[in-house]
């Protein structure tokens, strides 16, 4: 048995199952498992105090032997934290402060009476309209315990792959499932794996892009905090499929909790022999190291990310060659997003046909969204692809805040666009979002109501892109500054019709001539707000008179 015998012992499939059984028995010994959400959202509204109050109250009532209090990943309803769940009868409580925690123990646990004030209706559309694959373990298992992950079938997929499948069969399985990159662009994952598999090289790398830089997006962080082993397993399967023995997770320094949990998860997996040499007694070796980013949005672009891992300034380079041919230190490299890796284990376990049956024919599976902005239920949701936007915003999200009208939903962050209310019935998938000038993006969805000014929103995103431009290519470095200047001029009410025309022209130039995705997509928020809310721009233009140069010789580009 590998357990307890220390570093690097190899585990067999039988031992994995044995460990799962052992953990299940241990869990059954505890009559009640009290789960509290320990993700960043709930943490910041006092989850630690809630936990302490629960533990104290259990002890006072002599229940500490039969109950255990566990921290889990995100439970989804981030705006109503701290959240507490009783696993035995699946009761979810919201806004659990110290007083409520005491009540839950005394009334619910001791007397079986649910605490009505804090009860969450889990039959509400917020829960029933969701379908969880990526987040299936988030909020259900202790994120800091490998045993709990194994007890819910963790590392079974890796065992199956290593003992039953050839690398090419694994790639075929992923290809047939129809999984597409969840980082935003939606490149077919199986195809990408196939290219790296075919590349001839002694050394290959697997990279997980966890540099979630879009403002308003926190899906990847939630997965890493709530179910870190899922990512490790997905990466190891990818490593086997493409023939790599080294993986890197590139994660933002702004996510200290996710970093801590990943470090712990890697250590646990190594100790159990699930990472390291000859995993499951096969010839496959795989190691994973963390690389901490340092706050540069452009590093989410894959070639910039590679440079950053190499310890240099994160500046993109022209493609081709693509990283799948020449990546990290010139070696073929597979780069996928966190959510993509999180989908791998379920696909292997349940088969490609099951995965392909979810969502739409062209966009299979589910997508995790971070729902925020002027909406009632903010939080983390996972929905099948192709779900109408209206359902996401009004059923799951509960609509806009009282007394305001829905105006637009912004997806894709600074690279995306706005979806106005006339497109509310649009199915949410890669192709449909592109037809209305937005993108799927990594999953941030910000709802704006009648209080949001669209010119300001565009200016906000352009300020972001202007600051984050790495400065390597001129269209992006100079273009974003000029676009921002023009928007500023418009919002101050000093712009003319000509400025608006110049703005549109500049957007096209920056989009067509920038080197990397940052610049190419930077004008998207402007173009999309112009497309749907042009009247808001026009209202701000100064009197539509023909342009006359002013006496002091200032020209139309005096916004600088």
């Amino acid at each position: 048995m590998a357990v307890g015998t220390g570093g690097g012992d190899r585990m067999t499939v039988e031992e994995l199952r044995e460990l799962a059984e052992k953990e299940k028995t241990r869990q059954q010994e505890h009559k009640n498992r009290i789960l509290y959400c320990s993700a960043a959202g709930c943490n910041s509204c006092g989850a630690d105090a809630t936990k302490a109050a629960l533990a104290r109250s259990l002890k006072e009532n002599g229940l500490d032997g039969s109950c255990e209090v566990l921290g889990t990943g995100c439970m989804g309803l981030c705006g109503e934290g701290p959240l507490v769940k009783l696993q035995s009868d699946d009761t979810l409580y919201q806004k659990v402060d110290e007083g409520a925690a005491k009540k839950i123990v005394e009334e619910h646990l001791l007397h079986g009476a649910k605490v009505k004030e804090n009860l969450v209706d889990t039959t509400a559309p917020f829960f029933s309209s969701q379908q969880k694959i990526v987040l299936e373990n988030c909020g259900k298992i202790n994120a800091e315990s490998i045993e709990e992950y194994i007890a819910v079938g963790g590392y079974e997929a890796l065992a199956k792959v290593l003992t039953e499948l050839q690398p090419i069969e694994v790639i075929e399985e992923v290809r047939k499932s129809g999984l597409r990159g969840r980082g935003g662009a939606g490149y077919p994952t199986g195809l990408k794996w196939g290219i790296v598999h075919k590349a001839k090289s002694e050394q290959k790398y697997v990279i997980c892009n966890a540099d979630e830089g879009d403002p308003g997006a926190f899906m990847d962080r939630s997965v890493l905090e709530g179910d870190p082993h899922r990512i490790l397993e997905g990466m190891a399967i990818a490593g086997y499929a493409i023939g790599a023995n080294q993986g890197f997770i590139y994660i933002r320094a702004e996510y200290p909790l996710a970093i801590e949990r990943l470090k712990l998860a890697i250590k646990q997996a190594e100790r159990q022999g699930l990472l390291g040499n000859r995993i499951f007694e096969s010839q496959f070796n795989f190691r994973i190291d963390l690389r901490i980013g340092a706050g540069a949005f452009v590093c989410g672009e894959e070639t910039a990310l590679l440079r950053s891992i190499e310890g240099r300034r994160g500046r993109p380079r022209p493609r081709p060659p693509y990283p799948s041919e020449k990546g990290l230190w010139g070696m073929p490299t597979l780069i996928n997003n966190v959510e993509t890796y999180a989908n791998i284990a379920p696909i292997i376990n349940r088969g490609n046909a099951w995965f392909a049956s979810i969502g739409t024919p062209k966009s299979a599976g589910t997508k995790v969204f971070a729902l925020a902005g002027n909406i009632k239920n903010t939080g983390l949701i996972e929905v099948p692809m192709g779900i109408p936007l209206r359902k996401v915003i009004f059923d799951i999200g509960g609509g806009t805040l009282d007394g305001t009208e829905f105006k637009a939903a912004q997806t894709g962050g600074p690279s995306g666009g706005c979806i106005p209310k006339e497109h509310l019935d649009l199915p949410v998938d890669y192709e449909s979002l592109a037809t209305v000038g937005s993108i799927m993006g990594s999953g941030g969805m910000i709802v704006m109501d009648s209080t949001s000014n669209m010119v300001d929103v565009a200016k906000y995103f352009m300020e972001f892109c202007k600051d984050e431009s790495c400065g390597k290519c001129i269209p992006c470095r100079v273009g974003t500054v000029h676009i921002h200047g023009l928007l500023d001029k418009i919002s101050r009410g000093e712009a003319t019709k000509d400025d608006l025309a110049l703005l549109e022209e500049l957007c096209v130039t920056v989009m067509k001539t920038s080197l990397c995705g940052l610049g190419q997509s930077a004008p998207n928020p402007v173009r999309s707000t112009l497309r749907y809310f042009r009247q808001e721009y026009e209202q701000l233009l100064s009197k539509p008179v023909d342009y006359v140069p002013s006496a002091d010789g200032r020209t139309t580009d005096n916004h600088l």
Binding site: A40, S44, A253, E254, A296, G311, A372, G413
Partner: protein, 174 residues
Amino acid sequence: MSQQPTTTKGGHPSGDNRFKLLDRAITKNQSRGDALIEVLHAAQGIFGFLENDLLVYIARSLKLPLSTVYGVATFYHFFRLKPKGEHTVVLCMGTACYVKGASGIQKSIEEHCKCKFGETTADNKISLIQARCVGSCGLAPVAVIDDNVAGKLTGEHALQRIKQWQSEPEEVTA
């Protein structure tokens, strides 16, 4: 820089013990040049900010040109080349916070402190920092006030904390 480090062996000529900690981090990465970002993270963790002298020391230890080290340190937002104030307010300017009125809070704090975000007040008491997104969008608008996340923030609440700091007596620094 008054002191020029002459050697990378045996710590820093100033005898500052913190360099020993840094050396340990460098050795852990086998003095590899591609570990520069890791080493800078470690250095900032130990020293609080990256002084020029420190960058020179790192460049020599990793056998990299100083220009590369300086280039990387200034490229990434996370690295600070100036000391931080006694207290910090990190205001999130993510989309969700923006939509919920973070810019109004920003304005009121800036007016009160007479200092812009990205700077430290003249008395070195408070550093105002803008964050891209701290990822607590459900609680927008959010600020991280001295390492504690404050959700559903209002301008008054933020100012209250700041006024509290300002009324504190000067801390005696060793």
